[in-house]
Each structure stands twice: as C-alpha cells, then as structure tokens.
C-alpha cells in the first residue's frame, strides 16, 4: 500500500533525475543516453503527484492519457495496472515516454510545476513500458473484436500508420500496412537515432502489430506499385488511410548545395540509422563523413544530426542557427544533451554559401552574422543580417536540418485529393476523412512535420472515423459485394 503523504510532503520530494550515460563516454557509442528510472525512483517520482481533482495534465496530453490514475497505481507499486491505464489511450508508451516533448504538453501544465519542478510524467510512462518488457513473457495484448470482413489499407508505417493499424485490427478489421522502405517505423527507424530510441523497441511494437493480425507489406510504394484508387479497385480494400509523413527534405537554395559532402538531414540519418552506415564496412552503406561537420538548423532533427556526427567521430561538430538559443525549436532536453556532448553552437549564424574544390567537394561555409530585429507575424523576432559581417569556416561536411515538407508521391498520384497550399492533405478533423470518400489521412502528411504523439493520436482518431464509415456507409465489404 502506498505511503500516506500530505500535499506538503509530496511537494518536498525532489524530481528524480534521469540516470544517464556520462557525456564523454556516450559520445563514443550509440547506446541509449537516458537509462531509465529504477523502481524506487519511479515510486518516489509518482508520489510527487498531487492527484488533482481536475487534472490539467490530461488536457495537456494530445491523446488524453488518464495520467493521475496511472501515477496513483505507480505510487502503489502496481506497475501492471498503471501500464494498462496508459495503454488504453497510448499504444506506444515505450516510444512516447522517450521522445514526446512533455515539457510542452502534460508537464507544462502540471500544478506541481507552478512552484517546483513538474512531475516527470514522461519518465514514468517510459518506466512502466520498460518494466513490462523487463518482466519477460508475453506482452499483454488487447483483445480483438469479431471479424468484420472489411479490408483497410494503411499507407506508411510511421507512428500514425502503426497506431491506426493497431486500432483497426482491434476493431476487427482486416488490415494491411504498406511501407515503401524495407523496415517499419517511419521516422522512428530512419530518423530518430538509436541513442534516443533503441530500434529494438520499435521492432517490438511492430511485432505486436503482427500478433494482432496486421499484414505487413514492405517495399511497396503506393502511388507507384498501386495508386490509392487501385487499392480499392484492384486490391479490394474498403478504405485507405494515408500516413506517408513529411519526408521531403528542404534545402536552403544557397550556392554550392549540390557539392559532395552536403547532405539533407534525412540522407545523413537514413544512412546511419536505417542502413546502419555507422558500422561500415560490416554494413554496405557508407556515410562518408568528414572531420569537420556543420549542421544547419536547431530543431530536434538538427540535434540528432549533431549528436550522430559526434558519435561517428567527427572532431569538430558545429551547429549553425540564425536565431538564438531561446528560439531554438529543439526540446530543451535534447539541446542540453547536445551541449554536454561538446557540440559547438554558433547562434545568430546563417550560411550564405558553400564553397568547394575543383572536384566539387565541400571545403567550407561562408557564414553571415545575424541579429534579432523586429518581431515578425508569428511574434518571434526576425533574424536580420548584420551588414559586412561574414566569415568563412573550413568544413568537410554540411548537413541541412532545416525542415521537411510533405512526401508528394501519393498526393501527386491521387486525383481529386484536396491539398492545402503547402501540399498537405486536407481532412475533416473529426473523422480524418479526405476529400475522397473512404480515403482518410493523418500524421505529418496532414499537419506538416509535427510530433510522434500527434501522429499517433491522428492515427487513432482516423481508426474511429474509418470504423464508423465502414459500418455505417459501406456496410458490405467490397470483397463480398463483388463475389455474388
């Protein structure tokens, strides 16, 4: 039974620090940086929760996990019960506990945080998920409802696709997940590095999906091997969910960007994470990184590139960002980890040109010094160049981590699909249905590059929308309707 604690006593328990690998040690390996709380720490952390009557944290959670309820169970040491509560609303807790920006979500509005540090909700979420795996044995799987006979195609296996497929399978539909690459997980496998999210965790989640009866089709590019329309007409699906993400890398449009040694963040991370290029020549895909590496941008993607470059042995790893640390869009935790790992941050610095040698190999970057001017439409102070302040930095590799747009393969090949002016798919937010009846979409392809939890949440909302559409509008599965 949990200890009886007063509110005051609860508030006095310090936020439990996350055990982590030593910075100088971890920059030499790809092992996970944050090691996870011990059971004792997890219980102590759970005891900090005030069990608010009107919990603001639940509203702060994009998928509305019943946070106080699961934390109460944790404080009692009932990890199994705690996990069941989390899993009701979040099928991927081991992943979200690691990569969600809790400081902008549940933890931002935690009442304890008004005076002290907020309850470490994310760490607790991760703890229960890891605890289950550590117990060994079978992972508790939700029960599948009776077969409905409907067939649903889920296109893209990132968090939106994974969540939607799992939910549809539980609802009794027959689900096929189509993935263009040879592995499932989307950004979780090709983008986010091993040291933040071990790939074993993603593999386990994918394995669970298969246990739920979801069929996986790898190496299947929708829009090429079959169009969305053909998924209905030739493959007999009753509904299609598009979750193809924001995988189109942006470049800056400055001179020299096509030189050898300039990579998009996606290319660099894919070579390392998906193709395991850090282990070349044991794996066949080279990374080809130089001694001095500059990464442009300061979001999570840029942090991942910087820290990966460091681990690959680059001697100088420099971040170029045109605003200041305060405006950096990366999670604070990622930024701090990068700083601990001796990344050289150059704030108010923007590359204007990449120069190279006669073989078109990068030799360096010309950097423009910036200052913050008047606030722009978004309210953020706009970086403006300081006239005459440019300098050159010798570099071997330049990685562009300045953002991604919607992957156009599916959207371009699908007639009548309404897009907004950035090329994202327009949906009805309640059902996630697109302008084409029976075709749904969610995740980054709808919102633009966002977060894992939002993509997952969209996948769940879409699953409900699809279920409703199938039962109330389609009524008879295509495969049956055709047969007779």
């Amino acid at each position: 039974m949990a200890r009886e604690l007063t509110k005051k006593e609860r508030m006095q328990i310090p936020r439990q620090p996350m055990p982590a690998q030593d910075p100088m040690e971890r920059i030499r390996n790809f092992g996970e940086v944050a090691l996870g709380l011990t059971p004792e720490m997890a219980i102590a952390e759970a005891e900090r929760c005030l069990e608010c009557k009107k919990p603001r944290c639940v509203e702060g959670c994009p998928v509305g996990i019943d946070i106080p309820a699961f934390i109460v169970e944790m404080a009692d040491g009932n990890f199994e019960k705690a996990l069941a509560i989390v899993k009701k609303d979040n099928t991927l807790p081991a992943i979200c506990g690691r990569v969600c920006p809790q400081e902008d979500q549940c933890e931002q509005v935690c009442v304890v945080g008004n005076k002290y540090k907020p309850v470490a909700i994310g760490r607790l979420e991760r703890f229960v998920a890891d605890w289950e795996v550590a117990q060994g044995g079978e992972i508790a799987m939700p029960e599948r409802q009776p077969e409905t006979g409907f067939k649903v195609a889920v296109v893209g296996s990132g968090p939106a696709g994974l969540a939607c497929a799992a939910q549809l399978a539980i609802l009794g539909h027959s689900v096929t997940l189509f993935e263009a690459l040879h592995k499932a997980g989307g950004v979780l496998v090709y983008g986010i590095p091993e040291f933040r999210l071990p790939k074993k965790i993603v593999e386990e989640e994918v394995g669970n999906l298969q246990k739920l009866g979801v069929e996986l089709r790898f190496n299947f590019v929708v829009g090429k091997l079959a169009s969305v329309q053909e998924l209905f007409t030739e493959y007999d699906f009753d509904s299609v969910f598009i979750a193809t993400g924001a995988g189109l890398p942006y470049f800056m449009g400055i001179p020299g960007e096509d030189y050898i040694g300039v990579y998009s963040a996606n290319e660099f991370l894919t070579r390392v994470n998906l193709m395991k290029g850090f282990d070349f020549p044991a794996y066949d895909t080279p990374v080809g990184m130089g001694r001095r590496v500059a990464v442009v941008g300061s979001g999570n993607v840029a942090m991942d590139c910087l820290r990966t470059a460091k681990r690959l042995g680059a001697e100088e790893v420099i971040c170029l960002y045109r605003r200041t640390r305060a405006e950096s869009p990366a999670r604070l935790e990622e930024l701090e980890h990068a700083e601990e790992e001796a990344i050289d941050f150059r704030w108010l610095s923007s590359p204007v040109e990449i120069y190279g040698d006669d073989d078109a190999r990068v030799r360096g970057v010309r950097v423009q010094k910036m200052e913050l001017g008047e606030p722009d439409a978004s309210g953020r102070r706009r970086p403006v160049p300081i006239e005459g302040e440019q300098y050159d930095m010798e570099m071997d590799t330049v990685i562009m981590g300045i953002g991604q747009g919607p992957n156009p393969l599916v959207t371009r090949s699908t007639e009548d699909l309404e897009l907004n002016r950035w090329g994202n798919i327009v949906v009805n937010e309640e059902t996630m249905m697109t302008s084409i009846p029976g075709v749904f979409a969610g995740g980054d392809i709808v919102t633009g590059a966002a977060t894992v939890i939002l993509a997952m949440g969209a996948g769940k909302v879409a699953a409900a929308g699809i279920d409703d559409y199938l039962r109330n509008e389609v009524r008879v599965p295509r495969s049956k309707a055709d047969g007779t």
């Binding site: 189109l248 096509d258 894919t270 020549p281 080809g288």
Partner: protein, 285 residues
Amino acid sequence: MATLLKIEEIAPAFKRYLVEMPEIARKHQAGQFVIVLLHDHGERIPLTIADSDADAGTLTLVVQEVGKSTMEMGTLKEGDEIQVVGPLGTPTHIENVGTCVCVGGGAGIAPLLPIAQAMKEAGNEVVSILGGRTKELVILRDEMTAASNEMIYTTDDGSFGAKGFVTNALERFIKERGKPEMVIAIGPAIMMKAVAEMTRPLEIPTVVSLNTIMIDGTGMCGGCRVSVGGDSKFVCVDGPEFDAHTVDFDLMMKRQRTFLVEEEEARRRYLEHHECQATKGGELS
C-alpha cells in the same frame, strides 16, 4: 521477397537476372527502375529494368558488376531471394514523333531496350546506335535489333561495327540522313554529355536517363539530386529522364564519385575475402 528464376552471364561481368515479381511486372513502364536489397547488411542498389513480362510475372534486370554489391549479386544462385522495390521513377513519355535515335553505351543499353520497344510500338522509326569498348560488351544486340528498325554499332577497338564512339556514329547519321525528331541517350555520364553537346546546337530534342547515387528512391533523402536548368531535381522521382540540354553533367559526374574511397575499400575487401571470378571486373562509368 522476389525469387531469382534464371541467371545468365551475357558478357564479361554482365549478368541477366529473371526475377519473379508479378506486381511490378504488371505496372512497369519504359524508363522506370527498381531498387534491390540483397540482405539485411546490404545497401539499396538502384537497377534499371531491361524488360518485363506481365503475363509471366517476371522482370529482367541486367547488372554490370562494378562494385562490391553488384559483384555480390553476381554470386547469387537461381532460386535465391532478394528484396525488390519499384517500379520507381517517372515513365518515359512515349509518343510518335517520327524518327527516334536511341543511343546506348555499356550498361545503359539495358534501360534503353524497353524504351526502344515502346517507341517502336508507338510507330516511330527507331534507329539504334549501340557502342561499347569491345564487341562482347555491346550487350543485348538481338533484343535491340528486334526493337529497332535499324542498327548501327560502334566499338572503341573496332572489333565490331565502326571503330569509334557512338557520338561519331550519330554525327554521321545526321550528316547523311538529316536531323531525327528525337534522340534518347543512355550510358556512361560522359557519353550522355557528349551526345547532349552534339545535339544542342542542332536543336534536336534529346532525353537522357541519369544514374545517380540513391538510397530510398522515393524522394526522401535528396542524395540523388542533380542540377537541371539551374534547379536541384531528385532523379528518383523527378527523373530518371531529363532534357539532356539542361543537365549539369559535370557536377553530376563529380557527385557520382562521392563515395569513391569507400566503394573502393568495400570492393577491395570483398575481393580479398572472395577470391572469385569477378576479378575481371568492369570499369566504372
């Protein structure tokens, strides 16, 4: 997974693979390619489709063994399985333009074959100019003959057809017979560049198919980018075919050498570990 049904050596360091892949065979159009992965430690290798048979559910891939992965592919046996993704890239625009000269060099003859077939089918007078270092490296002659109205051959050493390069033959053709309505050139970058330089002043519409470094083949990494008309284009989705007169071949040729050191190391290690027949090797285009 796709099963390799038949493997033949069609020239030194050139193998032809018949791959069971019914879905791709049904969809494949001239000008498209696939990406192949041999095993979990492998790299993703872009390969052009030399032929497809929708009824039999098969694809034909012609692979020149130039690096570690293509050599390793060469050691596979009939019945082995590989992963294949495709068809990727934008299909060739097929139209009856009149006379279409198809210029192919080395491994570039393989992707040229389905294009020549489709152009002929569309009613064009197809004249094929094929070249190679020596006679046996001018591959797929019978197949190309069936897909063309007329054949012209060149070899560097004069062992077959006219001695010289394909560009010499193209020049001669134009001098004798006038400007064709269209030229399609596929082969080593240096050859495609030479063809482009030749047809540019004559204003003959010319199409080339580029083979750059690729990873995903779906527009996700940008590793395949080339400069076309001053814009950065992704070969895997915007191409592989482009207007030859707008491609920056010099930059592309340099970019092809991005991983030269690593590729050489992988090749050397591979050969050391597998003292195989592959030592004959091919030459890098």
